[in-house]
Symmetry: D2
Subunit: 346 residues, 4 copies
Amino acid sequence: MIRAGIIGATGYAGGELVRLLLGHREAEIVWYGSRSYVGEPYASVYQNMFQIVEAECLDDNMEELADQADVIFTATPQGLCASLLQEDILKKTKVIDLSADFRLKDVKIYEDWYKIKHASPQYLSEAVYGLCEINRDQVKKARLTANPGCYPTCSILSLYPLLKEGLVDPATVIIDAKSGTSGAGRGAKTDNLFCEVNENMKAYGVAAHRHTPEIEEQLSYAAGQPVTLTFTPHLVPMNRGILVTAYASLKEKVSEETLRKIYREYYDPEFFVRFLPEGVCPQTKWVEGSNFVDVNVKLDPRTNRVIVMGAMDNLVKGAAGQAVQNMNLMFGLDERTGLMQAPMFP
Amino acid sequence: MIRAGIIGATGYAGGELVRLLLGHREAEIVWYGSRSYVGEPYASVYQNMFQIVEAECLDDNMEELADQADVIFTATPQGLCASLLQEDILKKTKVIDLSADFRLKDVKIYEDWYKIKHASPQYLSEAVYGLCEINRDQVKKARLTANPGCYPTCSILSLYPLLKEGLVDPATVIIDAKSGTSGAGRGAKTDNLFCEVNENMKAYGVAAHRHTPEIEEQLSYAAGQPVTLTFTPHLVPMNRGILVTAYASLKEKVSEETLRKIYREYYDPEFFVRFLPEGVCPQTKWVEGSNFVDVNVKLDPRTNRVIVMGAMDNLVKGAAGQAVQNMNLMFGLDERTGLMQAPMFP
Amino acid sequence: MIRAGIIGATGYAGGELVRLLLGHREAEIVWYGSRSYVGEPYASVYQNMFQIVEAECLDDNMEELADQADVIFTATPQGLCASLLQEDILKKTKVIDLSADFRLKDVKIYEDWYKIKHASPQYLSEAVYGLCEINRDQVKKARLTANPGCYPTCSILSLYPLLKEGLVDPATVIIDAKSGTSGAGRGAKTDNLFCEVNENMKAYGVAAHRHTPEIEEQLSYAAGQPVTLTFTPHLVPMNRGILVTAYASLKEKVSEETLRKIYREYYDPEFFVRFLPEGVCPQTKWVEGSNFVDVNVKLDPRTNRVIVMGAMDNLVKGAAGQAVQNMNLMFGLDERTGLMQAPMFP
Amino acid sequence: MIRAGIIGATGYAGGELVRLLLGHREAEIVWYGSRSYVGEPYASVYQNMFQIVEAECLDDNMEELADQADVIFTATPQGLCASLLQEDILKKTKVIDLSADFRLKDVKIYEDWYKIKHASPQYLSEAVYGLCEINRDQVKKARLTANPGCYPTCSILSLYPLLKEGLVDPATVIIDAKSGTSGAGRGAKTDNLFCEVNENMKAYGVAAHRHTPEIEEQLSYAAGQPVTLTFTPHLVPMNRGILVTAYASLKEKVSEETLRKIYREYYDPEFFVRFLPEGVCPQTKWVEGSNFVDVNVKLDPRTNRVIVMGAMDNLVKGAAGQAVQNMNLMFGLDERTGLMQAPMFP
């Protein structure tokens, strides 16, 4: 039984981790960390857990946690995990960080985009970028896994075969992404009130969103050359779900059938990436509550452009589900353990 | 392994049955019945089941189904199950009917409210009303279970202790219920279009909804006297969830603490009914995707009235989940098997 | 041209006042008061007003405002209007208070339910309860109008004929009300975040909501005897709209046709109350953006109970629209001036 | 007083025309055409118009209509207007067609994309494309105006200055558009049911949507050269609103300030196009119910790409509002007549 501790258990991603780990037959939660609710029953914050979780919220004491847990999940704002991490902790326990602290290898890029000083850059080289489908082997051996961002997970998996195979010109990649509102977190901000989000849609962070360098870094590895791209996120009036629509120009003419064949080669072996039948567009609702990413590709012969679409649940494959998938790999389990739920519809 | 057949597998309740049975370790689905989609892959109708369900939709052949299945679920419009049922079938297999055909013991009341002739009234006395918390022992022995309606499940469980204990005047019971739109089914009607339901709320079926006699019959058994009540359903712009707010006048003064004590006695032993802490109002989102009913009670001392609130997922405890709970009982399993999912939030 | 000043112009009710007054040919806004945004352009808070409103937000200086405005609207939390009001101000200008400060005649009841000390009880007797359809003549002569609460407006207009005509037993009145989320205001609270409200429904303030005594007081006047009732509000995942479903037992048998005739007598002369055709249930969407209240009544002969339904836009007839209607009356205009917009659908 | 007839008055665009014309002081509706509801009171279809519209629905008799009306709006599926139009009609009355029949000058392109034969191609050269901000002078003289599509209106106005000024490479234009569900019409289709759309998002018509050639034709006029582009529409769970996010590569380096200056030159004189302040992203809710299009532009210096955003109400500026604006121009009125409503928020 893997003893799991969660720091930040009362955010939306933390709450989803609790839901998933409760259904995981090889794991148990030993620490519900939440600085804001120390001493309160967890189920009084998330009433869905009434009579399911009896525990109270604890503070973010990572040293004590390291003694009690085999794995620590940090589902906290940027900077916290980096500020608490020490060799002592990593010697005792594994860490899966759901924040951005260890996703970017270049500390300067991190500090430029996140506007904070990195408190433990010495672990950047060791940290494994936990996009399981791409880095499965490294994750298996990791002590410290950087759980990918929600937008990056969906964007990278959607575009990966195109760049890995060198089919498209990296300079033409544009990612237009749409996210449900749980991605904005549980902080009490006017912008995230029901009446401000409902019946509304907007872009935000245009040409400036912090997931941009993360996507670029990973796609650069795939392409074998630096990729600079345009990424535009949008806020959508729904709780969960990310939809990515990405565009890229083909280097030379390729048939849609060839494109489909390549995607099948990449994703038929992957349980959590479902490459959809021809003509079926991914819908966020079809993956809700599950760890699946649905992907499809369409050729626009008039412009010689490829349009790739990806849909996933931002709290599952985009956060807590992928974290559990990483945990499974790090502890030698089947990566699907605890993640076999069918999506819920409607 | 229980072999389960579903007639009406492409309605919303049928789809939910599929989702739940897929996660049930003692059952397997052997028949995806859907007259509208015969021959089409089930996963082309419910794309969430892509790469999970490989089967095609089959016709509503109940005789053939009886040979292949240990249990048949009928998630179909009123009248169909009654028209197909025969002794031959019941000798070979168990039937759980999610329609209203076998819920009312009095065929005249059925025909008055449903405006159709009952095709097999001879099974009315045998059929067990499958509200597990109340009729658990009969369900265990049943060949034919009438799975309760969504509104009745939530209404009856909310009010049951009050009437069973004779605390309230049955003539004063009023049930004001609110339901998400999946309760209206998947038929293509203008009234259920997104733009007609969204940002809108209305009552419907006022003083005439067909769940009224079902609630009255069951509460009459509890009260030991005939109960006639007012029931008003409302349509709410959300996918899932039923919220019941019910009112009744106390026969004599009772303290809120006494009321709470009585509810605890009834529901502390029940896994799927969660009697909430004082002052916490049930919310539909806190039970979404799960088989829980959350209940609370509040005394209004100014009017000597009790206000009872109940919340549940109409597709789970209000339909497919309760059907699985009934199946578990009918086959001697722990009734919670396959129904332990924590609610999903947000 | 009526010069209007608004204190609290950046709340949702204040914003709606701005929208309505901008379309009012006899009024102009001279003061956009908002303590939180002093000095900021109003259109930077409410971007819908970009290039429409050029003014900046001003402080809540009621004395200075009284010199500049013919009428002051206070769309502020309870207590503020009472604390600022003075004879000097009322000599210079008229005041329409959208808070609850002057709605209840009995200061003790106000202080009991609102838990604050009333700062100017000397104006309680003078203040007119501005439910125009009922108190039209007094409003015309008022210096100080207490604009009714949203729930009370819809509840009272729905039930008024029944109590005025003595048809129902006042002790049996139950009001089950449902409101869109704008009624909760624009404060940044976790409970009002999109992800907490969306796909969710709950009761709140059960047996304790502060609109209860307001409804009781007005219905007592109608009934000519004290009315004590049960009022239960619910939060619904939509921006705008209140739906009231109210129940009361008939003193003696009355036909539905008689009930309909009585309602027609009361409401045929009223432009803003639309008594709907038989069998048509009010829907909040059918009145959105307008000052209408849609009402209908249904007899439940099985229980001898009347079910009354009312729907309105909580920000218009429930707040800003009624305030403008009151202003029109106080300044001798046709009460419909600036309020003739047809509801917007969908 | 302009006598207006509407064919297709019970679709969503037709209903919005009714709402707007009812508030237009120079127009009156003389014909509510709706083949599906002939003989039924209009207000029984759209209950929001109860006690506002007394008329019954009439058939689609364009010849008789031409005798009674000064202007005919056709808010009907593709093909109908073209099939009914004749010289006799155009001699008696003006026609504003909200369908696509007269938007494309090249009949072959129309027939290729719409898969129907054009019944009156002889009027294609006469018809004026009614995007008022661009073709204002021709609209003033038109007998027959082709009211632009919803996506084209928002897309073209967002991109126009870039192409007209030759700042971007036309081959790089990509339009990623998002629409509320009213754009899908009021037909009773499973895909548009509340439960299928709510909490969901998807692309549709990828590389194949029929608004593509319309956008291309108009942007080609602006660019002075053929423009071939990629256009991807998406369905969003909201009633109203279109958000366009468009991408194009600059031919040479231009500062954001220069871009902003150019946009200001184009749109400062335009009442209905609001070029937003730097850093403010358009939101669909900020224009709801109004005829405004909110536009902003952002330079992505890392990729030398321009990102343009546009938001409007698809039923107003994207359909009925623009039709009224066209009517105003065709009858010599101020184009803003009847269209001065401030957007409604929230």
